[in-house]
């Protein structure tokens, strides 16, 4: 029997809310780590030096070719066998962040490659160094292409972070399960958890929309938007 009273009770349960907060924080921190790893790997893969681009390719291949759940278990449960002991939070951040980085590397690389070559030449011609060219000219323009698929992976990350419950990270899913074990209101509690996830992904969707609008302010309304949608579509297909 569905229990409305229990549902509303759990809807503002502090225990679950804190879990949702951990989920959000974990996802944001993993995104930050992922952006660092992803940008580094993307730049490395664009190098023509095989000693630089091959390691980055290996990283992307390994991370995208194995389940993140397996990676998390290897880091938390397996590595201590080699004397590397990471606590729950460190393991979760490492697993989720580094994995995210591999997906972001491909997205960032495609974004960088989408910037016309003439932009780089113009930057060099006014005396910008390679680093300046990347920072002031290429990346800001790549961002417009990068943000839509990046937003999609963050949406994914908010949900994927629930896998960290397996290594006993006290995030939303873990706390939901714990609550269920004590109070047996399975459906009510899980529906509340689902609503929390939905709330987070929906709010993120709105934020993402605003960021995208801001980034394309210099682009002509019709053609630019369409082009951008197509680019984003291609990119997100690539990154799946």
């Amino acid at each position: 029997m569905w229990d409305w009273a229990a549902f509303f009770h759990y809807l503002h349960s502090e225990y679950l809310l804190l879990g949702a907060g951990v989920t959000l924080g974990l996802s944001l921190a993993s995104l930050a780590i992922g952006l660092g790893c992803g940008l580094a790997a993307a730049l490395m893969r664009l190098s023509s030096n095989p000693f630089i681009n091959k390691p980055a390719s290996l990283y992307v291949w390994l991370m995208r070719g194995t389940p993140v759940l397996v990676q998390l278990i290897i880091i938390y449960t397996g590595l201590p066998q080699l004397g590397i002991k990471l606590n729950v939070l460190e393991s979760a951040l490492l697993g989720l962040g580094v994995n995210e980085g591999a997906y972001l590397a491909e997205i960032i690389r495609a974004g960088i490659l989408s910037v016309p070559k003439g932009q780089v030449e113009a930057a060099r011609a006014v005396g910008m160094t390679q680093a300046m060219t990347m920072r002031l000219v290429v990346l800001p323009q790549a961002l417009r292409i990068i943000v839509p698929p990046l937003g999609n992976t963050f949406n994914g990350l908010l949900k994927t972070s629930s896998l960290a419950s397996v290594i006993s990270m006290e995030e939303l899913l873990r706390r939901t399960e714990e609550l269920v074990q004590i109070q047996f209101k399975v459906l009510e509690i899980f529906i509340v958890a689902a609503l929390y996830y939905l709330l987070m992904t929906t709010v993120w969707g709105l934020i993402q929309e605003r960021i995208e609008a801001r980034l394309s302010r210099h682009v002509a309304p019709a053609g630019g938007r369409l082009r951008q949608k197509i680019d984003a579509e291609i990119l997100s297909r690539d990154s799946q």
Partner: protein, 267 residues
């Protein structure tokens, strides 16, 4: 050339650009086969020639967007892209070339304005970031340059909101903002609709009359006649003809130049 005669030549003419025996090869194709060219201060040199003849590559080796395979390029006497250490020529790293490039402006066929920046930002970006000019001074200078190219009201427009001719004029202002000793124009009007060609050429003519040293790759014969001190015909990676424009267009000495001109002039 002996040291003495070099000195006396330097005393009479101030060479902004000296290119000697420049070679450039892309894979199996030799695009430049030993081009030598000197441009004096305030001189306007127009380069004509068939596509694939090496015109763009020559410009791009001058500011080292492409490194020449052989030969040396000097800007106001200083070698670009290399330096002499104990009599040996050592290639400079990209970061040092970036510093040298500040003194050479370049205007591209496709304008290549930074598409995420307004016209004003396009002009101020390099002065602020590269030359470390103060922001207020850079903005004031950019507004002056926008007025100079006839676009004072377009400071806040993004490139996509400008016509081709307007974009190219902003690109010229962007090059001027670095106070270059030399500006390279790579077919600056070839991508423009006919009615916009004149507005760009007019700005270039103004520059030439104000003493700017310029190398212009173009097929605009009218501009060459009015603005150029010298015209050069580049074909097959070598200079085939070099003369004052009056003679170059009226009575070229090479048959190949003659044939090319007859096509351009009657196009």
């Amino acid at each position: 050339m002996t040291r003495n005669s070099a000195l006396s030549a330097a005393a009479t003419t101030e060479w902004v650009l000296e290119a000697e025996g420049v070679h450039k090869r892309f894979g199996a194709t030799e695009v430049l086969k030993g081009v030598s060219l000197r441009v004096a201060k305030g001189e306007v040199v127009v380069i004509l020639g068939p596509s694939g003849g090496g015109k763009s590559t020559l410009l791009r080796t001058i500011n080292h967007l492409e490194r020449p395979d052989a030969g040396v390029i000097r800007l106001c006497g200083e070698p670009i892209g290399c330096k002499d250490v104990d009599g040996r020529r050592v290639a400079l790293p990209e970061s040092a070339i970036a510093v040298q490039r500040r003194a050479i402006g370049m205007v591209f066929q496709q304008f290549n304005l930074f598409s995420h920046m307004t016209a004003l930002q396009n002009i101020t970006a390099a002065p602020i970031r590269v030359l470390k000019t103060g922001k207020a001074a850079a903005v004031a200078e950019a507004r002056r340059l926008l007025a100079l190219v006839g676009l004072p009201e377009k400071a806040d427009a993004y490139p996509e909101q400008l016509s081709g001719g307007q974009q190219q004029r902003v690109a010229i202002a962007r090059a001027l903002a670095m106070h270059p000793k030399l500006i390279l124009f790579d077919e600056p009007t070839s991508a423009l609709d006919p009615e916009m060609v004149a507005e760009v050429l007019e700005v270039m003519l103004d520059l030439s009359q104000n003493g700017m040293t310029m190398i212009v790759v173009t097929h605009e014969v009218g501009f060459a006649r009015r603005a150029a001190d010298r015209a050069i015909f580049l074909e097959g990676g070598a200079i085939v003809e070099e003369a004052a424009p009056e003679r170059f267009f009226a009575d070229p000495s090479s048959e190949r130049t003659r044939r090319f001109l007859s096509k351009v002039l009657h196009a």
